[in-house]
């Protein structure tokens, strides 16, 4: 923002009492210096922020026409689709927005892994990101229950039943979650209340996430620290424009799905009203939960990893092990900054780790594929192999490679890398 802006009397009046504009200028204005070499992978944070706003706006409007009662929920959503003016548009935006949110955040997360953004001094930033992911998962899970279709109901049943695996208190916890003896009206009511609340908790977490970001600023594709002003450019106008451009491209893609393939990410069974007496033959969660679902189901009594972690079934049964593994698959990410002992951030200078990064990435996609298949025959074995690799990568390969690997020479600074490359 120009100094002329700050001479405006109204701005001056406000600034004297509360320096909001200075604050904004230092947060995403011309007074916020940013590494000059950020590429398009750095767009996905602001895109996730955009989707969060879209979700809150569309959600609040949906809530004005939605009825959280087992007898009316399904019908009220159908009414939104048929009778409410533009209800179909708002619901499709909200439905596909959930998927878009996870796409942005997953890209954002793998970006962080690829360029080592989780490393010192950005550990807290990374940890807050994992918390945001967990809160998003809870929000999306409860949101999916609201339309009260078959998948809503049975997804809720299966996921809440996960907690029954906890020794001794498991059943009491499940009853507490349900507010009854099965997923029923009390459950739907509280899920609606929490689904309304949690997005605002996410907003709060995002504020902390950005606070931590602004402490040491963005990492960059080279992963080297900025050495001085020659390595940086002001956020505004350079990155405000780049972020806005990214948002434009994103909106085109997003609205393509909303208008032309609104049910692409969805499950047809969820257009059948919930029936507590009939389980659909093939229950699948939303696509963004499939990898975790595959990990959950991989744990059967004869899975060797189960035999190891449970000391041959002595410590726990396969159900509990599967539940623990599913949560561990995310919680282990919290330890990444310490599991990876390499001082080099960017995989551009880590020839061996680079390969394993991509294998891990493919493993995650493959787990997603398995999670969508019925748990039978060779899918079980493949899911168990992919699950084993997932944990082996995080717990064994990352630390091992980070100790053994010899990184390529790292550029002195962002500027020197650019000049020596002959640009």
């Amino acid at each position: 923002m120009s100094s002329k802006f700050f001479e405006n009397p109204v701005i001056k009046w406000v600034e004297y009492r509360m320096p909001v504009f200075t604050f904004l200028d230092h947060s995403l204005g011309s007074s916020y210096p940013t590494p000059k070499n950020l590429n398009y992978w750095w767009n996905f944070g602001s895109l996730a922020g955009l989707v969060l706003v879209i979700m809150i706006v569309s959600g609040i409007v949906l809530a004005m026409n939605y009825t959280p009662h087992v007898d009316y929920a399904f019908e009220s959503v159908e009414r939104i689709m048929r009778d409410v003016n533009y209800g179909w548009l708002i619901r499709y935006i909200h439905m596909n927005g959930g998927s878009a949110f996870f796409i942005c955040v997953y890209i954002h997360l793998f970006r962080g892994m690829y360029f080592g953004s989780y490393k010192e001094p950005r550990e807290l930033l990374w940890i807050l990101g994992v918390f945001i992911l967990l809160a998003m998962m809870a929000t999306a899970f409860m949101g999916y229950v609201l339309p009260w279709g078959q998948m809503s109901f049975w997804g809720a049943t299966v996921i809440t039943n996960l907690f029954s695996a906890i020794p001794f208190v498991g059943d009491s916890i499940v009853t507490l979650l349900w507010g009854g003896f099965s997923v029923d009206n009390p459950t739907l009511n509280r899920f609606f209340a929490l689904h309304y609340l949690l997005p605002f908790v996410i907003v709060g977490l995002v504020v902390f996430h950005i606070w931590a970001l602004h402490m040491h600023r963005s990492n960059n594709p080279l992963g080297v620290d900025v050495k001085g002003p020659e390595d940086m450019i002001p956020f505004h106008p350079y990155y405000t424009v780049k972020d806005l451009f990214g948002m434009g491209v994103f909106m085109v893609l997003f609205m393509f799905f909303v208008f032309y393939a609104p049910n692409f990410f969805g499950e047809p069974d969820n257009y059948i009203k919930a029936n507590p007496m009939v389980t659909p033959p093939h229950i699948v969660p939303e696509w963004y939960f499939l990898p975790y679902y595959a990990i959950l189901r991989a744990f059967t009594t004869d899975f060797f990893l189960f035999q190891i972690v449970s000391l041959g079934g002595f410590l726990m049964d396969a159900k509990l092990a599967g539940v623990l593994a599913m949560f561990a698959s995310i919680l282990l990410l919290l330890l990444l900054p310490w599991l990876d002992r390499s001082k080099v951030r960017s995989n551009r200078f880590r020839p061996i780790n680079l390969w394993f990064f991509w294998i891990f990435f493919i493993d995650c996609i493959f787990l997603g594929y398995i999670g969508g298949k019925p748990a039978e025959g060779s899918f079980i074995i493949m899911g168990q192999i992919a699950t084993t690799y997932y944990f082996a990568h995080i717990v064994i390969l990352i630390p091992l490679i980070s100790i053994l690997e010899r990184p390529k020479p790292i550029p002195e600074s962002i500027s020197s890398a650019v000049t020596s490359a002959g640009h």
Partner: protein, 185 residues
């Protein structure tokens, strides 16, 4: 410290300090305990309410259920399987060794009358409803029930024999009011 002490009242620094310490400890204890106690009503409000709890019972007329047939009734929002077992099924359920089952339990302990198997039809894995109530549905490797969600096989006594479920299908409290009526709950 000294400027908050009260020399007029003859209170020394030392006394003042211990008095302050006492106040801090007392306030923390009362405040902490109070907050902890206040959490309970909020948590407990999420547990089943009185009307939900009012243990609903369900009466079932067994007359129309022929041998080899099953019906599903609703009890507390959950399906209950009522099966009139064939002599064959009873025979198989009783002749197997229970020792190497996942959840060993004898068939005799699971029924009041040999032919009437009554149990909650909710898979003990993650709560799906097993198939096998209708003749057309798959009954699994043990000719009882099969849960399609993650592949659990139950036998003709509703005992888990294969798959991820840890427990047998639970038997609810029930009572025969007469020869053809049973009250569940």
């Amino acid at each position: 410290m000294s400027d908050t002490a009260n020399p007029a009242a003859g209170v020394s620094d030392e006394e003042e300090k211990s008095r302050r310490d006492f106040l801090i400890v007392a306030t923390s204890v009362v405040g902490g305990l109070g907050t902890a106690l206040a959490v309970w009503p909020f948590v407990h409000s999420m547990n089943p309410a009185k009307d939900t709890l009012a243990m609903s019972t369900t009466e079932v007329d067994l007359e129309p259920i022929e041998e080899g047939q099953s019906i599903t009734v609703t009890w507390q929002g959950k399906p209950v399987f009522v099966r009139n077992r064939t002599a064959d099924e009873i025979e198989v359920a009783r002749s197997v060794k229970t020792a190497d089952m996942i959840d060993p339990e004898s068939d005799e302990d699971r029924v009041q009358k040999d032919e009437w198997l009554i149990m909650v039809g909710v898979c003990t894995h993650l709560g799906c409803i097993p198939l096998g109530q209708k003749a057309s549905e798959p009954k699994g490797d043990y000719n009882g029930w099969f849960c399609p969600c993650h592949g659990s096989h139950y036998d003709t006594s509703g005992r888990i024999r294969k798959g991820p479920a840890p427990k047998n299908l639970p038997v609810p409290a029930y009572q025969f009011l007469d020869d053809t009526t049973v009250k569940i709950g």
